[in-house]
Amino acid sequence: MKAHTLSHLDVLEAESIHIMREVAAEFERPVLLFSGGKDSICMLRIAEKAFRPAKFPFPLMHIDTGHNFPELIEFRDKRAAELGEKLIVRTVEDALAKGIARQTPGETSRNRLQTPTLLAAIEEFKFDCALGGARRDEEKARAKERVFSFRDAFGQWDPKNQRPELWNLYNGRINPGEHMRVFPLSNWTELDIWEYIDRERLEIPNIYFSHDREVIRRDNQWLPVSDLLPKRPNEASHVLKVRVRTIGDISCTGCVESPAVTVADIINEIAAARVTERGSRADDKRSETAMEDRKREGYF
């Protein structure tokens, strides 16, 4: 008799496909949030596995901070075109112009400003469900979030009042004006993502690989020098061999020194890493509960 065994990646993939199909079956107007980052690249492969040979039952949407690594935007557009799927882009720039989003004095990162932009886009298109690539291993507040995570009419998350979630039975019922955030990769770890990228031979933006970049040292991190993050008069910049581990607003995404030029190199590097992925995000370092606070307001 054949041994009917599955590897952990097979099990995780089967679970994620199931979650995406639940969304397709239970929601009228879902959308998949696609940034061009590594997690959302895996999301697209899982969507292919869940729905091909048909088209995706949802469009893709990117909430563009305008503070981007240009490579990422190029990759985003190319990938959506290859798949032949519809890509919606809504920008923080536009949300600021319309007064939907407001900058607080001294705030340089636009990660927080993605929230009102996203909520406005959800309202504009009457989306009832947004699929996101967040994982529970990323951050403590995320560790307590459901796969089907309910948002009230204000787009808010109430961590103390979440629906119990048992077996693989997801409760997708909502009333008009409310919506659901669904996270098919909830149970994946950073290492799982890279092993999957390796196994599926997924193309990723080249900034994930080692490259020469001009960086400055701030708050114990190497931040990329750009128009948005100019050097201060007393600061010295360095050109180092770096790569990014996670991608956010370019003004607060730390680079790590790394010689990794292949996915296999990255897997080895992460397996041996002593800092978490979000350790390179200045926006999460602000306080113990920075992520919880942003999520409550409606962040991804």
């Binding site: 089967a14 629906r163 149970n187 509960t289």
Partner: protein, 432 residues
């Protein structure tokens, strides 16, 4: 790493039994606590005031939890060793513990129950073991913790083991392991402890790596709940009509004769489609797309099975229910129900008994089921439901009850074997 197995486990214990410390210790000793997490723990050590790094703060993520030093909700943690990947559902031991433990237990292969060596088996231990049994967790580990506080006494360990064994004889747990530990000091967590030379078993982590989980899935009864119908509407796939779903039990092969329930119509599998190509066979828990030879009406909520092994189809059944909402469940009320991919309406037609959570004895004559209470309920549904007894298959025998107005998830149910001719000891709930 790509071929490692996945083990899901849950932890339970009373307040101060050291659950979070135990998980923190597992992560810490397997070097899975990262530098930035350690740094953030050191920053927060002021909160506890003792200057020591509090490993519990690693799992207690929400602000209210850190302020009050408690765990509010089920938290999921991830770690790996070269042998296995682990998903841990850490559930709080105090308020709401039934609701949270049931949630954490629903997907677990294994449950760790912590016992304070100074206190031995207490009421809470029995409740947790009962819930593990009710949810059919195949493997149970009783960690007798704080052994350092009882001078690592073998006698105390043995007494607790015997105590628990005699109680557990009435439960439906296949496999129980006892391990004496000190989570605080790391005794028998990752490395075998020098302080307890009388203990010959493996440390906890080694047990988690080695426990055999190959037959935790049901590979006997072929069950395919239809989740979604794929119709490409493209010229090259003109005739493609695929039934997408995740196999809930057993094995399906190309060419298999199948029955579709509840209609009872039959057909043959012509293709097992995946994006990676056609398969000759597929098994639980794979997500695939089936194509059938005949053009019959099949939609979400139907179940594809094999003609010689069919589940029950009925609009009446009995189930053990755990209620999870402040507003009690009442006889005769109408609720939504979701069982597999089937959503319908249901009504608790009768409350057969309520389990007294302190004595684990049945309480007959109850008319409602309150928050965190467990009871045996007779349900009626508006349409026929296709199901297996939960003890035979968790995926086709478990359901949730939903409020049709607020949409909240109110309770979870586990279907019991209908019309039992002979009492089946393996299946019996603890409360008869």
């Amino acid at each position: 790493m790509e071929n490692t197995e996945l083990l899901r486990f849950t932890t339970a214990g009373s307040v101060d039994d050291g659950k979070s410390t135990l998980i923190g210790r597992l992560l810490y000793d397997t070097k899975l606590i990262m530098e930035d997490q350690l740094e953030s723990l050191q920053r927060s050590s002021d909160i506890t005031g003792d200057g020591q790094i509090n490993l519990a703060n690693l799992t207690d993520g929400l602000r209210a939890e850190r302020e009050q030093g408690i765990t509010i909700d089920v938290a999921y943690r991830y770690f790996a060793t070269p042998k296995r990947k682990f998903i841990v559902a850490d559930t709080p031991g105090h308020v709401q513990y039934t609701r949270n433990m049931v949630t954490g237990a629903s997907t677990a292969n294994l449950a760790i129950i912590l016992v304070d060596a100074r206190q031995g088996v207490i009421q809470q231990t029995r409740r947790h073991a009962y819930i593990a049994s009710l949810l059919r967790i195949p493997h149970l580990v009783l960690c007798i913790n704080k052994m350092d506080l009882v001078a690592y006494s073998e006698d105390i360990f043995n007494r607790i083991r015997e105590d628990f064994s005699s109680f557990a004889a009435g439960l439906a747990i296949r496999d129980i392991t006892f391990i004496p530990v000190s989570a605080l000091n790391g005794d028998n967590i990752v490395e075998k402890s020098d302080a307890m030379p009388w203990y010959y078993g493996p440390p906890l982590l080694r047990h988690l790596e080695d426990v055999y989980i190959g037959n935790d899935r049901n590979l006997r009864d072929a069950r395919f709940p239809v989740q979604y119908v794929i119709r490409p509407y493209k010229d090259e796939y003109h005739d493609f009509r695929g039934f997408a779903g995740q196999i809930a039990g057993g094995v399906f092969r190309k060419g298999d004769k199948v029955t579709i329930l509840p209609s009872g119509k039959t057909s043959t599998i012509t293709q097992i489609h995946t994006h990676d190509g056609e398969l000759d066979e597929a098994f639980a828990p794979q997500s695939v797309t089936l194509q059938l030879a005949d053009d019959i009406d099949i939609s979400r909520g139907d179940m594809i099975v094999k003609p010689d092994n069919v589940p029950y189809t009925a609009n009446e059944f009995e189930a053990m229910v755990c209620w999870m909402h402040d507003e009690p469940m009442r006889k005769g009320m109408k609720y939504g129900i979701k069982l597999g991919t089937k959503s319908a309406r249901c009504m608790p037609a009768d409350i057969l008994h309520r389990v007294n959570i302190d004595t684990l004895e049945p309480d007959v004559g109850a008319t409602s089921l309150g928050l965190n209470e467990i009871g045996r309920i007779k349900f009626k549904t508006t349409v026929p439901m296709v199901f297996d007894p939960y003890n035979r298959n968790r995926a086709t025998g478990g359901f949730i009850v939903v409020d049709e107005a607020t949409n909240l998830t109110l309770g979870a149910g586990m279907i019991l074997e209908p019309k039992r001719a002979i009492p089946n000891t393996d299946d019996a709930e603890f409360v008869i």
